[in-house]
Symmetry: C2
Subunit: 371 residues, 2 copies
Amino acid sequence: MRAMTQTQERPLFYSVIIAGGTGTRLWPLSRARYPKFLHALTGSDSSLLQATANRLTELSPAERTYVVTGVAHAAAISRQLPQILEPNILAEPTQRDSCAAIGLAAAVIAQRDPEAVIGVFSADHLVGDQQRFTEVIEKAAEVADRGFLVAVGIEPTRAEEGFGYLRMGEEVQPGVALVAEFKEKPSREIANAYLEAGGYLWNAGMFVFRADIFLEELGRHKPALRDALTRIGQAWDSDGREQTIDEFWGGLETISVDYAVMEPCAVGGRLVAVPADFPWSDIGDFHSLGESLPNDDTDNLVLPGSDQVVLRDVKSSVIVSTTGRVIAVVGMDELVVADTNDALLICPRGRAQEVKLVIESLRQRGHDQHL
Amino acid sequence: MRAMTQTQERPLFYSVIIAGGTGTRLWPLSRARYPKFLHALTGSDSSLLQATANRLTELSPAERTYVVTGVAHAAAISRQLPQILEPNILAEPTQRDSCAAIGLAAAVIAQRDPEAVIGVFSADHLVGDQQRFTEVIEKAAEVADRGFLVAVGIEPTRAEEGFGYLRMGEEVQPGVALVAEFKEKPSREIANAYLEAGGYLWNAGMFVFRADIFLEELGRHKPALRDALTRIGQAWDSDGREQTIDEFWGGLETISVDYAVMEPCAVGGRLVAVPADFPWSDIGDFHSLGESLPNDDTDNLVLPGSDQVVLRDVKSSVIVSTTGRVIAVVGMDELVVADTNDALLICPRGRAQEVKLVIESLRQRGHDQHL
């Protein structure tokens, strides 16, 4: 294990894990009450959340590792991550999108360490190369020390329509460029053109910045949101926390950090991108889960293990079960089976995204307990 | 409800339901411990066993309706058929194939009513036309009164390779012919030739005969088996039942009624066939289940009901569940899903017979509790 070089001269690095979102395209595994990040979708016994925390131990010790989540999940997160200090689990009373989540972490941490540099990471992404990940984030932290907001963008490996893109502009140092523009999810043709042209990165929602700079930029573009979050941050470690939350949380603007801060900063030339070349997946649906994890010799992915799974003439399929039941599949290609105690999904991998429509059907039928 | 005409001159009609066999091709629904006939595979709340008993009420009142089964299933059968008298549930200590099962019923009933005419019916078959069924069995009973053994053979509706066939010979009365020959399960070509030629019936294991004549024929071809069964039948309603079973049951020959009695009788010109033109299925596997029961407008069969099943762009599929879980299927044709608490099967309808190989795999892995 290498430890990140921290000298007296450089500010300390803090990891912030954003544990939000349910991952509805992984239904029935992922639920409102038991979201994706709590599940062992990593090819090991670790949950995505645990794998994320493990990945960050080289960058920040436990006392500088934070989790932001909804109150409903704080207890489950505490159980999965016993090493994280209780004061570092920041529970949001209600969801106010990513700007409030990241802003809360920045405000609380800035109050505790005004010099802090923060890296923001999703709790439910997979990374394939630990060492390269650490190197890229260390580089991003160095750039952030200089006062930039840094987006760690993933170098595209395919013409993906499901992600937003960052168009890179002028270099500010070797391998680090200003973000010239945010691009929404493109069409297939445009995604192909980005891939061929080069100079585009996937926006993975992975950011590194000095807490004070982030709050300053937030104040420039969303002053009311900055002021409220700062008040909450100042009160967080005091007896006035609950009262201040009561006073300000409900009025926070619900807006993504991209819209509120990152895009305006890109326009202003204050956001840079560090390209990341480590294998990465957001495990958006069962199809991408099958692409992200190592498969058996007929290209099947069986989670958590194959002891009780019998496959006869089955190829390129994804079979995920939380029940321990015997599952027998005969004569199928490119199938998804997701098996839980109260719900079962069967669909072709190519139609894994239609799970959203299944959920809509269930909602209309009043099956809220299954969502 | 019509009652079968029974005059003083004619012997009384008894129904014997043979509740044996596990139906391994319906795994994981059908199990050694919970066989096919106990399941509601009828498109209603009735189990196959209950539907069979209901079908026979027009032919025999409860006091003349019998069930032969293994000791392991006697309690479950009593619960499903509370109307059947306890003395009419004949529990075999061990399985000795169909000749012993039918012979036991014949010996016990002959002891109680020496004139009895018996109809033998499988507990796990489906019949589509109640009135026609009653008419055909009444006709068979009339022929049996005359001293023939009668096979009720199903008029083929397709070139089925999975059944044995009866070749009809000379007519003994209009619509009733001697069985000239038993034919084993044919190849596809030969099954086609049978269908085109006519004069062949499916052997459904459905027989009608006088109990005394059956025992006489059994004595002609398998005298030791007849003698042992007669001894057991004589002792059945006495204090000596257990001792006699202990003495004779273990030594009974394990042989099918076709081999022991019906084929030799056909050779001797003493077995006739009454053709049956009612819709019939032995529900051999999930594919034939889908063909036997009424489907929805996209030709899907959902059992026990569709309340918790969401189908999106699914056609000609069979979905059977005993769990009450939500089942969502997207984009599938000709699929079989069989969902139970501890095992799940997914396969194409055309490969439903390969379930036998899945069971073999599970046996090799030591999953005996799932068989």
